[in-house]
Structure formats: C-alpha cells, structure tokens
C-alpha cells in the first residue's frame, strides 16, 4: 500500500472526516508508515502557528471606505424632519448641545463628587444632606448622558450610551428611545437598542421598542430589534411585526425573521 494511494483518505483523516471503516484503514497505514506519521504530526504542528491580530488602523481604513460609500445614501432629509420633535427638555437640550457646556457638566459632576466626599468625611452633620447630594449626583450623571447623546460625533454618542446605568430615570430612557429611532449611525442605534433591552420591564420602554420597529430602515437594526422583542415575549408586538411585513421594500432576511418572530410570539 503506497502513500499516494492513501492520499485522499489521509487528507480526510487530517480534517477528521473519515467513516469508522476508513479510519481503521488509515490507522493501519499510519502504524507502518513513518513518513505519513510525520506528515500528520506536521499537520498538528501547523495548528500551533500564532494568529496575527488586525491593527486598529485596518478598522479605521475600512470605516473611511464605508463612510464614503454610505454618504448620500442615508435618508438625511427624513432624519432632519424628525430631529425637531425632540425638544421636550427645552432649555436642557439647547444647553446640552454645546460641547463646551457638556464638558462643563462633567466638571460639575467631578465637583459634586468632591463635595460629596467631603460631606461624607465630616463627622456629624445630617445624613439627609448626604443622600440629597447623592441624588443630585445621580441626576447630574443622567444629564451628562443625555448631553452626550446629543453630540455631533458618533463615538461620543456611543460613549453616552455606554454610560447608561441600571437605575436610569425616565428622561434617560426617553433619550435612548429617541436615539434608537433617529440617530443616523447604525452602530449608535444598535448600542441604544442593547442598552434599552435591559429595561424591558418598563412599560414605556416596551412600547417604545415595539413602536420603533416601524421607523427602522437598516436591516441590521430591524433584525436585532425583532430578536429583542421576541426575548421580551410581549405579544402586543405581533401587530407591529405584521405591519412590518406589509412593507414591499422589506429586506428578505428581515421578512424571514419577522415570520419567525410572529411564530414565536403568537
């Protein structure tokens, strides 16, 4: 039995794809043939070859290319129109729009932390003050999150989403829902969706998530959103899913996922 005549079987052996009966033949051959044994060992040795890790530069070059492709594609007009609707916080939003002021907000936050620290160190005075301080600090932090969500650069908005905490108040959740609907970066919208999925016990969040299905354009976000809705096991999402399916321009993979979602929730 020559090695060449065994070549195909040996190749299958390397990828571990032999039937038991063939495996026995290969095993028998390997026992007699030093060369083939050494080949198999070489194959194993190749597995130890270290993998190269991509540099961050690769990612930024790719993004630059993708951005230039995406430019002009994204429904900017649509977004601008919707942008005006989010003025619920009136003065706060206006205030938060200026980057300098949101930096200032961070300073205030640090200062609050400092003062709170001093309060805590003090021997006696009223505990009520400390808890008040804490509350103020928390609400300050929420304001910073909201301010970050209004920044120009997607990476700052992403950072803002990342700062969202478990005990966020309704204003932050509302801002997140707005981001999920109207942010023009898919990455930011996906991040907002991820953050919101931790608040699915809130009635408003559930409703907001279900409603936002109708406004999403990107198949990536649509699919991720359907997955979140199914996880929530909220049967009232079925109507919205059915409505989504009526869209003639709907991406086929989204349609498939919506079918699956309806099936899961009905």
């Amino acid at each position: 039995m020559t090695c060449e005549s065994m070549a195909e079987l040996l190749a299958d052996h390397l990828q571990g794809r032999l039937q038991p009966e063939q495996a026995a033949r290969v095993k028998e051959h390997l026992q007699q043939c030093m060369a083939c044994q050494a080949d198999a060992a070489m194959w194993q040795k190749l597995a130890t070859f270290p993998a190269q890790q991509p540099s961050p530069a690769m990612k930024s070059r790719f993004n630059a290319m993708l951005d230039s492709y995406q430019e002009g594609r994204w429904e900017k007009a649509n977004l601008k129109q919707e942008h005006g609707k989010f003025l619920d916080f009136g003065a706060i939003v206006q205030w938060a729009r200026t980057p300098a002021l949101s930096v200032a907000a961070s300073f205030v936050l640090v200062l609050c932390g400092f003062l709170a620290g001093r309060y805590i160190d003090r021997p006696q005075p009223a505990n009520i003050d400390v808890s008040e301080m804490r509350n103020e600090l928390a609400s300050m932090r929420q304001l910073v999150v909201i301010a970050m969500l209004k920044q120009q650069s997607p990476s700052e908005r992403l950072q803002g989403v990342g700062m969202v905490q478990q005990n966020s108040d309704p204003r932050v959740l509302e801002a997140l829902l707005h981001t999920l609907r109207y942010d023009n970066s898919v990455d930011v919208r996906l991040a907002a969706l991820d953050a919101l999925s931790h608040f699915s016990s809130h009635q408003d969040v559930r409703k907001g998530l279900i409603d936002s299905l109708g406004t999403q354009q990107s198949p990536l976000v649509q699919i991720a959103l359907i997955d979140v809705l199914v996880d929530m096991r909220d049967h009232s999402a079925v109507d919205q899913l059915k409505r989504l399916q009526q869209d003639p321009a709907l991406d086929p993979s989204v349609k498939k996922r919506a079918d699956w979602g309806i099936q899961q929730l009905s």
């Binding site: 190749a11 390397l14 690769m58 990612k59 492709y69 969706l193 699919i223 991406d251």
Partner: protein
C-alpha cells in the same frame, strides 16, 4: 463596540448579510468585516509573510466586495465567493508588482522571554518552510488548515475535483514537512546564503 455589534447581529448569516449589502445596505458589510478581517489577514500573512501587504490586501477585498456586490448570487456560499475575490486581489497585486521586489518576512520578534524563544523559533522556521513551497501548494495548505475551508469549498474555489484537492493537500503537506525537516537540520544556513546572494525563495510559480 465590535463585541456589541457581534452580539446584536450574531444570528444573521453571511449570505443574508451579503444579500443586504447587494441591495445597498452598506452597514451590513461592517458585520462581515468584523467576522472576516482576522481570517483574511492571516490568510494573506501566511501566503506572503508580509504584514503590511496583508493589511492592504484585506482592505482591497472589502473594497471589491462593495464594488462587485451585484455579482454576488445568494445561492453561492459567501465564504467561497469572498476567497475567490481574495485570490484575485492577490494575483492582481503580483501582476502590478515589479519582479525584483524582495521578500521580507517580518517574523520572530527580536526580544522575548527565554521559554518563548524556542517556540518562536519553531514558528519562524515553519513560516520559512511555508514560504519555500510553491504558491499553489502553500495556498492549498493555508486554505485547508488555517481558513477551515472544507475540501469541497476549495474545489469550487480552484475549479477542480474534490479528489484532486485532497491529493494536492497531501502532497503539499508532505513537501512542507520535508522542507521543514531540512531547514531544521541545518540547511537553513544554506538558504540564508542563497538569500544573501539575491535569490528569492518561495516565489517560483509567480509570474
């Protein structure tokens, strides 16, 4: 961020994503990039031994995927299609390249702890051996061993029978092992001499 994107989108298949790209959804290419930049980088690095060039070629692959997105047919597997593009990108690169350009495998970092040194030397030797093989043999090994492509997928890629692929893998592995043993037992010095004399190892079959 990459992790998050992976988490939110991990259930979408390559083929679905590519179909989305084809119909103009650029951001879906971002997910494919997250999935395949590392495998592609390693594919090129093992073939060329040149890290910078490998990164350029990965970039080129994604550029071409976008450019030729309309030629993608959803019924073909995405991976086979992508590796086809990857191979073409490399061939085109060599065509443009001046033949005098020398190989500079950037391996074995100079400083490392004692116990790591021997391992690194083995890897450097292994990479040298790989680069000694003809392009064709090296490629079939890299595809089957490192890119986890099944023989059937490689057969589609190379346009030959599955049986032929298996024989090719077997022969390439045997030659690699022989070259490796030769290098290990001291012929490395001789090869070094050849390189100093201006020979280019490992590029035999490239025009």
């Amino acid at each position: 961020m990459a992790d998050l994107k992976r988490r939110m989108t991990h259930t979408i298949s390559d083929e679905e994503l590519m179909s989305q790209v084809r119909s103009g959804v650029g951001e879906s290419l971002g997910v494919l990039f997250e999935r395949y930049r590392t495998p592609l980088l390693n594919f090129y690095y093992k073939l060329t031994g040149d890290r910078g060039l490998s990164e350029d070629l990965v970039q080129e692959v994604f550029f071409r995927i976008l450019k030729y997105r309309h030629s993608y047919r959803p019924e073909t597997g995405f991976r086979a299609w992508m590796y086809q593009i990857a191979r073409n990108a490399r061939v085109d690169h060599w065509r443009r390249q001046k033949p005098e350009t020398s190989w500079k495998p950037e391996m074995s970092p100079p400083v490392m702890p004692e116990d790591k040194a021997e391992e690194a030397q083995q890897h450097a030797l292994l990479h040298s051996a790989l680069l000694e093989l003809s392009e064709e043999k090296r490629e079939v090994l890299v595809l089957s061993r490192f890119q986890d492509l099944k023989y059937e997928e490689i057969a589609v890629l190379l346009g030959c029978e599955v049986n032929t692929v298996k024989v090719k893998v077997f022969r390439a592995l045997r030659e690699l092992r022989e070259v490796f043993e030769a290098l290990e037992s001291g012929k490395l010095v001789r090869k070094q001499g050849l390189r100093d004399a201006g020979m280019r190892p490992g590029t035999g079959s490239v025009q």
